[in-house]
């Protein structure tokens, strides 16, 4: 059996940032387990730019952003094992993992950081009728084929869902010579970043059809077309609006789901909105010594925020290992009205610093006011010119405020329009 102070599951941006911060905080015995052949996670196939504007103040490609962290991991001599899959976490924080070289690994950890990322929602979850022909895949899978393997998965493409990967792939497929017929979005707004709609669709004349979905898929062996239709306010197709679009490929970008199989198996409490663990301000779950960060905790729009969050988790795990993190009196956070969720869900009142709360709204709004209330009393009010489900918001709770709260209290965030 191997022994480490901190075992990090996942060597993408979240896992690497957490490892580096934990090291900085004084923990040397760290092991990262990565299932892919290299560190870097999904960034390795994101060859477009737009990463790092917040964190580095410059525009990097995915592999560039990742390599800055990979270089640091190597420089700090943090141990990692690639091509290694974690199979199980036990109640006493042991990790079972497997790879070709070492076989089955049994690793005892003092603290574990979950950084497994997320996966794309598949077609089945949408229940689109039609054939099961070849040519239907998630946008991320297509991205891997194009950017890593160097093959085109199609020539005439319809994209369902205007998530960021879908938007990025609309541009990427176009640049590689494919014709992207349209992007259909079920909702009346896009869940993608505004800059991606401008740079990936508008600049290439690719139409974005809002309140529109794919209701049928045609083709026996390979997709030959899809039927799209407008939907009403209850997201039901409107009869008479059906339209056949010929295509050989349907890419799906219809949402991301945190990969919490290990988390669930060990019995860690999950938030039904984020599909990630319920955590405190250091991203510690309800299972002592197990932390979570990045897209496995909640789906982020910018990797920069993943990095920041993971540093918090890395610091928390280090404090835990060094005996400097104690659970005590806590308040719970609660999003109401337009606020769909808040991370963290719990805050320890013995925290010595400020705490940043991240949240997402469920609808678009203009000239809104974000209000934070404690025990029903308004304690913060901030104007926001524009709110959108695709963009994460945050608000800082100052330490002196925290000190005025008491155990069991509820901190509420709401939006007033």
């Amino acid at each position: 059996m191997l022994n480490y102070d901190i075992v990090i599951i996942g060597g993408g941006p979240a896992g690497m940032a957490a490892a580096l911060r934990a090291k900085e905080c004084g923990v040397d015995s760290i092991l990262i387990l990565e299932r892919a052949e290299t560190l870097g996670g999904i960034l390795e196939q994101c060859i477009h730019t737009g990463f790092g504007l917040q964190y580095f103040g410059e525009e990097l490609s995915g592999p560039e952003y990742a390599s800055r962290f990979i270089d640091l991991v190597n420089k700090e001599k943090i141990e990692y094992k690639t091509d290694t899959m974690a199979l199980e976490i036990t109640q006493d924080n042991k990790v079972y993992a497997v790879n070709k070289k070492d076989g089955l690994l049994e690793i005892q950890a003092k603290a574990i950081i979950l950084a497994m990322g997320c996966r794309e929602r598949p077609r089945g979850a949408l229940n689109i009728a039609g054939t099961r022909a070849s040519g239907i895949m998630s946008a991320g899978t297509a991205q891997k084929y194009v950017n890593i393997d160097g093959y085109m998965p199609g020539k005439k493409v319809v994209i369902l869902g205007s998530g960021d990967i879908g938007l990025i792939m609309a541009r990427r497929m176009t640049l590689e010579g494919a014709k992207v017929e349209c992007v259909c979005e079920l909702m009346p707004y896009s869940s993608g970043l505004t800059r991606n709609i401008v740079q990936c669709l508008d600049d290439f004349g690719i139409p974005l059809y809002l309140s529109t979905t794919v209701i049928d898929i045609h083709g026996k062996d390979r997709v030959t077309g899809v039927t799209i239709a407008s939907v009403d306010e209850n997201r039901r197709p409107i009869p008479g609006t059906e339209r056949l679009i010929e295509c050989d490929t349907l890419l799906l970008s219809v949402g991301l789901i945190p990969e919490n199989e290990l988390t669930r198996a060990v019995g860690i409490g999950l938030d039904s909105v984020t599909n990630g663990a319920v955590v405190d301000e250091y991203r510690e779950t309800d299972h002592e010594g197990v932390f979570a960060c990045g897209n496995v905790l909640h789906v982020h729009d910018l990797v920069d925020f993943v990095t920041l969050e993971s540093q918090t988790a890395g610091e928390g795990a280090a404090k835990y290992v060094l005996g400097k993190k104690q659970k005590g009196a806590q308040v719970t956070t609660k999003g109401t009205g337009m606020v769909r969720y808040i991370v963290p869900q719990k805050i320890n009142l013995n925290n010595e610093g400020d705490v940043k709360l991240y949240f997402r709204v469920g609808n678009t709004a203009r000239n809104a006011t974000v209000k934070v209330k404690y025990g029903g009393e308004e304690i913060i009010s901030r104007k926001r010119p524009r709110l959108a489900p695709g963009e994460m918001e945050s608000v800082v709770i100052k330490n002196e405020m925290l000190k005025s709260f008491s155990d069991g209290g509820v901190l509420e965030i709401t939006v007033e329009v």
Binding site: N99, L104, A129, S134, G135, Y145, D149, E261
Partner: protein
């Protein structure tokens, strides 16, 4: 090439028949029009082993169902195919349906079905707590069970090939000539010669029979649509739950699968196009509504995929098995719809027996009934895993994360007799790509492994043969 018997169609009936024929000293060819076995009706059905109380007493369906169901546990043991004898319940929702249960029980007794019992509401709800409170009674059939139809077929084909049968994929029979002593069976490019032909062509059995001038069969393709739910729903019910049958079939059922998912379906619609396995929004909504009648807590949120399959229905509403009136060396296995899967071991035995007797074939002393158990990393203990990886490191690399499928298992699937040649073939043999992400992550890795092992380019690999290629040309 000269054979004693050519079996046309590598569905569950064709594959088991080929295997059964190798128990005799016969040279057997198994011809399949698709790129893999189990690509027709076998691929998409309810995966149920029926007790046998539905069919009309005295019919072939009744006899072969009860016999096949009795043979199933042993067949599955020999072939290392998971079979779970979980029993079935037919639910009654009113007084009139309770009468139907009694009629079914009477029929079952005539058919020789053991152990049938009518449950009252209390017994039903204590047996199946998630069944609708509207259900008032049920018919319990302890011999019913669940089996994976394509796993059974894959295993049977593997075992048949191991015992000397030859498997021809992408062999779509288009011409059969008879010279008075033997048939020449051709797909327009290749041809083989054979003394006997077994027509196990599923929904195409009428067209195959017509190739020798036997126009006695007329298949009605009946489409059934299904939904498959995540494993988190797999324990919602613990038996096969039927509703009372109608003229169109046994109705929508709710049942766990051998892999621990929950299956809902089928619908029943007669259609013209024998290739039409598209699902439709209206029908799936209906399937869900009917499934909720049995189990109200079934949720669409947990649906991971939906699919449709075709059943070969004949006007006479029975199987037609035996020598064609046009040529006694041509054996039909026609109209094999439900309970075809349940009956399949008995159908295979009947056909092989018929041919062996006709030509006086002796038993094959070399025949080995056992198909070795494939490696299933996900079911192993950690100790077993250690030993396995030490022997072959390919089992140390997880390719499919959702189902924990290793590279070694995928290589085994490709290199098995009558092995996988496409992505869906790997999926059916290993479960890679069958989990929550439905191949989102592992799909491209499976394509890579297939290309590497088959020695071709990535863009030659298909989803399920034919024109179902996954990739086009290289990027710029």
């Amino acid at each position: 090439m000269m054979f004693d018997v050519a079996v046309i169609g590598a569905g569950v009936v064709g594959a088991l028949t080929a295997r059964e024929l190798t128990k005799f000293n016969l040279k057997v060819a198994l011809l399949e029009k698709c790129n893999d076995v189990a690509m027709g009706t076998t691929k998409a059905n309810s995966a149920i082993v029926h007790a046998g109380f539905d069919a009309v007493p005295g019919s072939l369906k009744a006899k072969l169902n009860v016999k096949g169901t009795a043979m199933m546990p042993e067949t599955c043991r020999e072939l290392h195919v998971p079979f779970k004898n979980i029993g079935s319940l037919v639910l009654a929702f009113c007084e009139k349906e309770t009468e139907t249960l009694k009629e079914l029980r009477e029929k079952g007794i005539k058919n020789g079905v053991p152990g049938l019992e009518i449950y009252d509401s209390d017994k039903l709800h204590s047996t199946e707590p998630n069944v609708s409170s509207e259900a008032v009674a049920a018919l319990w059939a302890p011999t019913a069970g669940i089996v994976c139809p394509y796993e059974l077929t894959i295993a049977a084909a593997e075992n048949a090939v191991k015992n000397g049968a030859e498997f021809f994929r992408n062999f779509a029979v288009s011409k059969i000539d008879w010279d008075g002593g033997e048939f020449t069976v051709s797909d327009g490019r290749k041809e083989i010669k054979t003394k006997y032909v077994v027509n196990a062509a599923g929904v195409y059995c009428d067209e195959i029979a017509a190739l020798i001038g036997d126009n006695s069969l007329s298949v009605i393709s009946r489409k059934g649509e299904y939904m498959l739910c995540d494993k988190s729903m797999g324990t919602l019910v613990s038996h096969v739950l039927f509703q009372c049958p109608t003229v169109m079939g046994k109705g929508v059922l709710v049942t766990p699968t051998v892999d621990g998912n929950l299956i809902l379906g089928p619908s029943a619609t007669d259609i013209e196009d024998k290739e039409n396995v598209a699902t439709t929004a209206e029908i799936l909504a209906l399937v869900l509504e009917k499934a909720r009648k049995s189990v109200p807590s079934v949720s669409t949120r947990e649906v991971i995929t939906s699919f449709a399959g075709l059943r070969a229905h004949l006007e006479c509403d029975d199987f037609i098995i035996g020598k064609s009136e046009k040529n006694s060396n041509f054996i039909n296995a026609a109209g094999i719809e439900s309970p075809g899967l349940s009956a399949s071991p008995a159908i295979a035995e009947m056909i092989a027996g018929l041919i062996a007797e006709d030509c006086g074939a002796a038993a094959n002393p070399e025949f080995c009934p056992v198909r070795e158990e494939p490696v299933r990393f996900r079911h192993m203990s950690n100790e077993e895993r250690k030993a396995l990886i030490a022997k072959n490191p390919a089992y140390g690399r997880i390719v499919c994360r959702c189902e924990t499928i290793t590279e070694g298992e995928i290589l085994d699937a490709i290199h098995a007799p009558a092995g996988a040649r496409d992505v869906d073939g790997v999926k059916r043999r290993t479960r890679a790509g069958m989990g929550r992400c439905q191949g989102g992550f592992c799909g491209s890795k499976v394509v890579e492994l297939l290309a590497r092992e088959l020695g071709t380019d990535l863009n030659e690999i298909t989803k399920f043969g034919g024109d179902s290629k996954i990739l086009y040309e290289r990027t710029k």
